[in-house]
């Protein structure tokens, strides 16, 4: 059972950790509108608690400072970014939501060799391993949100042959893991996830924690169903061309791009409903094949060979199988 938090003026901190990431989800977050990131941070939405972005390496003003051979004094200490993470661990930033962007590396081998694959910084001579901090902060967090395909499922760093043992946050914590408020890891995949999807999930989560909405219903991969309930194909405006077997022979033609590898029929993604930047930007309706970037197996089979047509055996019955390819062009 989820214990809800009903106190009125509480400030919620967001600790946004970037592990093995390209920062694409952060840039994407800046694309969100109605509400935008700044709307949320400046308290312009009624009914959600005040939110503070306590740690975000790409956005925050402070930075890491470690004096090695000299005792650090006040200014340097209070300005230090790395201190925030330790404060969060000690509970000084409660309540907080942990957001992870990026896959989680496996440091076992690297540590044995005295090195690391991903460090969040250095403080008091210690390397802050991303993997360790994700595990430690999850224990204190109200909720853990994995933003993007890397944090959700490992994404490209976990692609064959996965050199660093990368995996998703819920692979590290356990698929049945729940936070101290009883909330499972919420995955918001997409490479990157559109800013609007990210904000929708975060705001929904805050409203749930406050007891205004029930928790979003999650699918078997911990994705909120209200966003990831349908395939790209089902919501694609070119679906009718597919049904009529009108597939493109060349890029740039009006018809369905299934013939050039579109993974729309097997990819669950809201891009056709909530495009990328203020209604602009969807893949298949623009004539670009879906590459399945929201899916757990991405970028491996059955998604790799992005521009090569999907084998008919992999197409779910609902969508039906086009009999021929590249025919019935209007000419």
């Amino acid at each position: 059972m989820m214990q809800r938090n009903n106190s009125k003026n509480e400030i919620f901190n967001i600790i946004w950790l970037q592990s093995q990431t390209c920062s694409g989800d952060t840039i994407s977050l800046l694309n969100a509108v109605d509400p935008s990131l700044l709307d949320v941070l400046s308290g312009q939405i009624s009914n959600i608690p005040m939110v503070k972005l306590a740690f975000h390496s790409t956005i925050m003003t402070r930075w890491g400072i470690d004096h090695i051979s000299l005792k650090m004094e006040n200014i340097a200490k209070e300005w230090n970014a790395a201190v925030i993470l330790d404060e969060a661990k000690e509970g000084k930033l409660d309540p907080f939501i942990l957001v992870v962007e990026g896959s989680v590396e496996n440091e076992e081998e690297a540590k044995k060799a005295g090195g690391f694959y991903c460090s969040l910084g250095e403080y008091n001579g210690r390397i802050l391993y991303a993997e360790d901090y994700i595990k430690d902060l999850s224990e204190r967090a109200c909720a853990v949100v994995a933003i993007g395909t890397c944090a959700s499922f490992g994404g490209i760093p976990a692609g064959r042959s996965n050199p660093t043992g990368a995996r998703g946050v819920y692979d590290v914590l356990g698929h049945n893991w729940k936070s101290r408020m009883g909330i499972p890891v919420i995955n918001v995949p997409g490479c990157p996830a559109a800013g609007d999807w990210q904000i929708q999930v975060l705001v929904h989560l805050l409203l749930s924690i406050k007891g205004i909405l029930p928790l979003p219903e999650l699918d078997e991969y911990n994705r909120p169903k209200f966003l990831y309930g349908q395939t790209v194909h089902v919501t694609c405006p070119n679906g009718i061309y597919y049904a009529a077997n009108r597939l493109v022979e060349k890029f740039g033609e009006e018809y369905c791009v299934f013939s050039f590898g579109c993974r729309g029929p097997i990819s669950y993604c809201p891009i056709n409903k909530y495009p990328f930047v203020e209604g602009v930007g969807t893949c298949t309706s623009y004539g670009a094949p879906c590459i399945g970037c929201t899916m757990p197996e991405f970028p491996d089979e059955p998604y790799e060979g992005f521009l090569i047509q999907l084998p008919p055996t992999l197409i779910p019955p609902l969508e039906g199988v086009p009999i021929k390819t590249g025919v019935n062009k209007n000419d």
């Binding site: 390209c22 840039i27 930075w63 051979s69 650090m72 976990a158 060349k250 890029f251 930047v277 992005f306």
Partner: protein, 588 residues
């Protein structure tokens, strides 16, 4: 002499994971030694091996979410060449426009949201209090464009998360990503670049929408130049910030934005289409332009891992498909073998490698970035950008950019009027007279480069319109994939020279190597112990913090680091061999 060491890690407000180690002289208040290093590793090039060549276009973008288009572009060029798949002219223009769209947000986000806060009132009142008094008295020259009469007002507007400039530009930058999404289906990580052209239906309504966004973004470009021209003047005149980050002008630019009439994806014609680019390729050594030949630039690239967490590799080929000798240290031959280990400032200390450029037996640590782009084009005088709305003229060490009247409800009235801006090769010199650049010039060049890209975006869409008018509306040409082939894709990321090298065997990726601009800039030392560009720029730099050494935060070092706009996810992505200990679990 009292010295002490400092580690700055995480370096925030850049893309990715980076640290700097520096030895500081507490009495002379300067840096005596520095090491720059990356602290994250993923192994992209290993992940690419065995996949379809065109998959690299989609996968390599994901190296960096800040600058995905430039990776897509470089990978597409490498694919075009290797697969013998030249695109139709309209596709070249659309690719160019996507590239411009990304740059039009990327330079701005760096100047206003990432590096900008360094010079903001909030930070200065904490670390450089005396600057604030000077700023109150300093009158801005470009008030009629940006609207701030004193430098103090302008610096207040730069305050993170609340300053007017911070918030206003954040909104306008979104319009650039909207333009990139209009062309790329989404941004970050576009879906429309394919070998042989574009996977994008494109017509009149798309063109009109794009043109309207281009006008709005030209307004942002005017603002960017005005703000950073004034900040630069203030730093020179009132603060004497000249010495911070100073370094000889040793620069690399691959050139970018292909000419839709000349680009044919052929290796043998690389010098021809390279010199037709709207930014000219070139290498500058000690202020002198050495070459503008793209193939010569490519053939002389070397990589060194003496101070990186990798081991030496075996060569793959002896020569390219034209019979030019390919050195063992060239990226076509490189095969990096990773080895995480403990850090040693005299030994290995970074996940980044050390790219160098060979000329007459000497290895040069070249610096990449907007300053290299402007410097090369200004000296070469080959680049010409024309359109009915905007143009760029280059030559005699100058670049003249004219931007049109830009009326839009998105833009402040002061940004409407047509403007002309002029950039000149900096007159800065080292003590021995060698032409040099510094922190101020790197940021200033970034602002002018933004305006340059804005003018280019007009020229590129004008081309696209002409092709559509002439009925040349094909965006893709079919091709036949060879079994064995080699390709190279060189262009310019926001941060500078970006290169992708591919070898295809049995129709699949056999080797794939990427050298990013940040790999050049933040490179560790090489086997001769010569420092990378940023390490060199940090060494000997004065410390302006007005506190005692125990309270130093290293802000001057950070200003140098951020003047390079480093992108760490880009820097470290490298190939590993024989490591397969965690096989991927297939979930479904």
């Amino acid at each position: 002499m009292t010295k002490h060491e400092i580690i700055l890690d995480p370096i925030t407000r850049i893309e990715g994971h980076m640290g700097v180690h520096a030895v500081l002289d507490d009495e002379k208040r300067k840096v005596v030694e520095s090491h720059c290093y990356s602290t994250m590793f993923r192994g992209f090039e290993k992940i690419l091996v065995g996949r379809e060549p065109s998959d690299a276009i989609f996968i390599t973008q994901r190296i960096c979410g800040v600058c995905p288009v430039v990776h897509a572009y470089a990978s597409t060029l490498a694919n075009d060449m290797a697969l013998n798949a030249p695109p139709p002219p309209l596709a070249i223009s659309l690719r160019d426009l996507t590239d411009c769209a990304e740059l039009l947000y990327d330079h701005a986000i760096h100047l206003f949201q990432l590096a900008g806060p360094e010079y903001s009132e909030v930070i200065l009142s904490k670390f450089n209090r005396s600057w604030i008094d000077k700023a109150r008295e300093y009158r801005c020259e470009y008030k009629d464009i940006h609207g701030y009469s004193t430098m103090y007002d302008l610096l207040k507007a730069l305050n993170p998360l609340e300053g007017q400039l911070y918030l206003y530009t954040l909104k306008l930058e979104r319009e650039a990503r909207k333009l990139a999404s209009l062309l790329g289906a989404k941004h970050p990580h576009i879906n429309t670049f394919v070998p042989g052209g574009m996977a994008r239906k494109w017509g009149i309504s798309e063109t009109e929408k794009a043109l309207s966004l281009i006008f709005v973004l030209a307004g942002l470009a005017k603002l960017t130049v005005a703000v950073w021209e004034d900040i630069s003047k203030f730093l020179y005149d009132a603060i004497n910030y000249d010495e911070v980050g100073i370094r000889a002008a040793n620069l690399l630019c691959y050139g970018t934005v292909d000419d839709s009439e000349s680009y044919n994806a052929r290796y043998e014609d690389m010098d021809l289409w390279g010199e037709k680019r709207l930014f000219t390729p070139g290498v500058v050594i000690n202020g002198e332009l050495i070459t503008t030949k793209l193939k010569e630039i490519h053939l002389n690239v070397r990589q060194d891992v003496s101070h990186s967490y990798y081991e030496k590799w075996d060569r793959e080929i002896d020569e390219d498909l034209q019979g030019n000798k390919i050195a063992a240290e060239h990226p076509w031959n490189k095969d990096t073998i990773h080895k995480p280990q403990s850090r040693n400032w005299n030994g290995k200390y970074s996940w980044g490698t050390a790219p160098r450029w060979l000329k007459n037996g000497e290895l040069y640590a070249l610096e990449a970035g907007p300053i290299a782009r402007l410097y090369v084009s200004a000296l070469a005088g080959k680049a010409v950008v024309t359109s009915p709305w905007a143009e760029v003229k280059t030559g005699n060490g100058e670049i003249r950019i004219s931007l049109p009247e830009t009326k839009s409800e998105m833009l402040k009235p002061s940004l409407v009027e047509a403007r002309e801006f002029k950039w000149k090769v900096p007159s800065l010199k080292l003590e021995d007279g060698t032409p040099a650049i510094n922190t101020i010039e790197r940021n200033k060049a970034r602002a002018y480069c933004h305006a340059y890209y804005s003018a280019v975006s007009f020229a590129v869409i004008y081309n696209a319109i002409s092709f559509i008018e002439r009925g040349e509306i094909d965006v893709w040409k079919p091709f036949t994939k060879p079994n064995f082939s080699m390709g190279v894709g060189l262009n310019e990321a926001a941060r500078g020279a970006l290169g992708h090298w591919i070898i295809i065997k049995d129709g699949k990726i056999h080797r794939y190597q990427i050298i990013t601009p940040s790999a050049w800039n933040i490179s560790p030392k090489d086997h001769l112990d010569n420092p990378g560009p940023m390490e060199e720029a940090i060494k000997d730099t004065p410390i302006t913090e007005e506190s005692d050494p125990k309270n130093w935060t290293g802000i001057d070092i950070l200003r140098i680091v951020r003047s390079y706009d480093p992108c760490l996810a880009c820097t470290v992505h490298v190939f590993i061999k024989n490591v397969d200990y965690c096989k991927r679990k297939v979930i479904a």
